[in-house]
């Protein structure tokens, strides 16, 4: 929380940084588990849940 990223005196909230990192992590995970996600009852919903888990895990544990 205390380590805000500033670019040209514009301060980005930490969550924004984590969202950016989550996009990359999610794309990697989605690519690795695409076969399993496509077999879910609702593939889009399953992907949404995975993206939430990725964001939360990054923020809480990294």
């Amino acid at each position: 929380m205390l380590s805000e990223i500033s670019i040209a005196n514009l301060y980005f909230p930490p969550l924004l940084v984590y969202l950016g990192a989550s996009v990359l992590a999610y794309q990697l995970i989605e690519r690795l588990s695409r076969r399993w996600l496509d077999r879910a009852w609702h593939p889009a919903l399953a992907r949404f849940f995975v993206s939430l888990i990725v964001v939360s895990t990054l923020v809480v544990h990294c």
């Binding site: 929380m1 205390l2 380590s3 990223i5 930490p14 969550l15 990192a21 879910a40 939360s56 809480v60």
Partner: protein
Amino acid sequence: MSIVKLLKTAATLGLGVLALVFCLQLWRAYVLAPWTRDGRVSAQVIRIAPEVSGQIDQLWASDNQWVAKGDPLYRIDARAYRLTQQQRTAEFAEARSVFEQRSAQFKRRVQLGGAIAREEIDNAARDLAVAQARLDAAGSQLAQAQLDLDRTTIRAPVDGYVTQLRLQPGDYAQAGTTNLFVVDGHSFWITGYFEETKLPGVRIGAAVSIKLMGFDPLLQGHVASLGRGIADTNELRNDSGLPQVSPTFSWIRLAQRVPVRIELDKVPDGVELAAGMTASVEVTQPGGAPRWRLTQWLQAFM
């Protein structure tokens, strides 16, 4: 519905429950955790006013200069006060002389005993008492004159920094009127304005990490106290004496912010504090895992 389809549905919903649990953790870490970007460096500012009036003839302090307790800051023209002191000294000498004369007179009267009237002894005793009172008064006036003379030199009451100096030799210093400010160099603390929804996580004595906007190293401190009152704008009254109650959107409730005083325990070398600086403040939770390593890592490389 086949067993495979049932399993697929259960797996998706299980994933959803897992996501919900993680989101709750995220909510606690980001929204409910006691942290704020709205912290300020605060310090005690001592307002210095002379206790005697006069023209400033010497100015030793300069703007933003460090001064130690007792260091002279400026001097008021002392000539008038020196003359007063001389006058009081003379008056004191006169009173003492009168007192000694009356004292000797009284002793002589007492020694004469029955040879003189009792009234003369009583009068001598009364004269001696009057002389004693005048001597005491003259002594007090001399002490006051000496005090005023001493007060023509204004000294720093604390270790600190002279700030907003707008004095020049030749300015007239009015007794009781503030004309110089010193920021107490040992009094810096942080005021964190925490939303009231985050106060349950703010415990007295809890360790606090502070990040100043202008300096990279983290400062360490602890929660010293919670502000016990902020102004309620609804309490303002108009000319008729009626409270000016503002209308609200009942579905949007803004949390009030309460000032929390954080005493500094450790200020890293190279960090220069100035009252009013902006700080981000995070109250450490007991057993809390280290967070925000990603941003710390990014910040270290940017």
